[in-house]
């Protein structure tokens, strides 16, 4: 678990999650123009975010969640499905399949998504990452037995994920209202649309059978869930309002991914700072 903030901070976890992470997406969750996480360097008008939320009791700060009732319902459904199906399956998978094989499965799936990541790298104008993705794809496909071994990762070409939701984020598209998708879990309008974008960017969408694509997605979901069993248990135990916690984590995680972990955000609109300058006012209100 992560040094700072316990489990939800598990760096590995956070990196592993991707928008398609069907089941694992329970981990994450939240879209909002958040309370404390909001200060856009480009538009300073948000400095008084706090003042605004303080004044209006109707608006709960930081929850960009107009259809909360519906979302909570789907969230509860997903949670039940997770308890009954996904978590047991993931646990069985982890118990039955040895770690090296599980890693190969993950490598293979990651490799098969390389074209999508490459396309998004390029759409974001990140040539360096595009080169990295391209090199990984070539090396792992050829030397890594079709992607089963992450040879490139060992050679210093580290894996990273990108998706079309992130790409739109870097273009300045704001996240829109928070959404909980059935089975797929936490999302928002932008990232939901991003899922469609990713499917369209994936060459396999056009050549592979539907069953194959579905099998890949399910396997991916089981793999991700199996890597987050304790983390999620903890998260659930630790929170008072699990739904709200997940919503916030999803939002923060996505902002961080869009910034690519840089905490000095670019000036693209919609990007936020992790520690806003003027978010202390509330703690001074006494």
């Amino acid at each position: 678990m992560g040094l700072g903030i316990l489990s939800e901070i598990n760096s590995g976890l956070i990196k592993r999650l991707s928008a398609f992470a069907a089941v694992a997406i329970f981990v994450t969750g939240c879209a909002s123009q958040p309370n404390s996480t909001l200060q856009d360097e480009a538009s300073t008008s948000q400095d008084d975010q706090w003042a605004q939320t303080e004044g209006t009791t109707a608006v709960e700060e930081g929850t960009n969640d107009p259809i909360e009732t519906v979302n909570r319902f789907i969230f509860a459904f997903n949670d039940a499905a997770d308890t009954l199906i996904f978590r047991p399956v993931a646990e069985g998978y982890r118990f039955l399949v040895p770690a090296p094989i599980r890693d190969s499965v993950r490598n293979f799936i990651r490799n098969s998504y390389s074209p999508v990541i490459l396309a998004n790298d390029l759409l974001q104008g990140d040539i360096e990452k595009a080169e990295n993705t391209f090199a990984r794809f070539l090396i792992n496909t050829v030397a890594g037995a079709g992607g089963l071994a992450d040879v490139a990762g060992q050679a210093g070409h580290e894996y990273h994920s990108e998706d079309f939701g992130q790409t739109m984020g870097t273009w300045g598209v704001s996240e829109g209202p928070y959404l909980v998708l059935p089975i797929l879990g936490p999302s928002n309008l932008r990232d939901g649309v991003g899922l469609i974008g990713d499917a369209l960017l994936d060459p396999l969408t056009y050549v592979a059978k539907t069953e194959t694509l579905l099998a890949r997605k399910v396997t991916d979901g089981v793999d991700k869930r199996s890597r987050n069993i304790e983390t999620l248990d903890e998260l659930k135990q630790d929170s008072i309002d699990f739904y709200a916690r997940v919503r916030s984590l999803y939002h923060q995680k996505r902002v961080n991914e869009i910034n690519d972990g840089e905490s000095e955000p670019t000036l693209a609109p919609g990007l936020t700072e992790i520690f806003p300058e003027d978010d202390d006012q509330v703690s001074l209100v006494d």
């Binding site: 040094l3 760096s11 309370n35 404390s36 309002d241 905490s263 992790i274 703690s283």
Partner: protein, 213 residues
């Protein structure tokens, strides 16, 4: 003549360079202090947490004082309650403070112990208007390196205090805040009701991280 003018320009360049580098080092020094504070805190924590000779109660006590001395626990506690702080009475407020401190101890003692021996590096310090952001990288054995950000504020007289931590972009304060304000909203803003729930969770050890399988 040429030689002299060249000498002069060289000297000037040198002086300007020296002045500049001096200016840079002096501004860097203020920022470094926040980094040094964190570095020494980390060293202190490591030596405390890796001390095998003390009992677990003693260790908890030590960790608690380390936490309360170096973290702005009360500030964070107020922050995570958000607007409901204002509406709460003094009794529930101070009760929440105590409870929140317990939560932090239960939550972070195992985590800090686990990370005590790992590679900890401060990568940069950024000065903001009223605080510093100290960037650090923590690498555990066999794990991927994680980026941890520390929001550090100068105390009024001297010294520093940590007001937030963010790992991989997830902020402690923001995360707890969304949870607790949302819970409070459904409890009709009743802080004592939240206190009751939290107390139960502390008792059953819900905040302690589990060992990863």
């Amino acid at each position: 003549m040429k030689l002299i003018s060249r000498l002069i320009s060289n000297t000037t360049a040198l002086l300007v360079g020296a002045a500049l580098s001096l200016a840079i080092t002096t501004t860097a020094r203020a920022d470094d202090d926040a980094g040094l504070f964190l570095k020494s805190l980390q060293e202190e924590a490591v030596s405390q947490l890796s001390d095998e000779s003390i009992s677990s109660e003693e260790r908890e006590q030590q960790f608690r004082s380390l936490l309360t001395e170096n973290f702005d626990i009360s500030g964070i506690a107020k922050f995570v309650v958000g607007k409901y702080w204002r509406k709460a009475e003094d009794g529930p407020r101070s009760e929440f403070m105590t409870i929140f401190e317990d939560i932090m101890v239960q939550r972070f003692l195992p985590t800090f112990s686990k990370y005590a021996g790992s590679d900890f590096k401060i990568t940069k310090v950024v000065k903001k208007k009223s605080f510093y952001i100290v960037f650090s990288k923590v690498k555990t054995e066999g794990g991927e390196p994680a980026q941890i950000l520390w929001r550090i504020q100068a105390k009024e007289n001297s010294g520093f205090v940590i007001t937030d931590i963010a790992a991989e972009g997830i902020s402690l304060r923001s995360t707890y805040k969304s949870d607790y304000t949302s819970a409070l909203k459904s409890l009709g803003g009743d802080l004592s009701a939240l206190n009751g729930k939290l107390r139960k969770k502390i008792k059953s050890g819900d905040f302690a991280p589990k060992e990863n399988g």
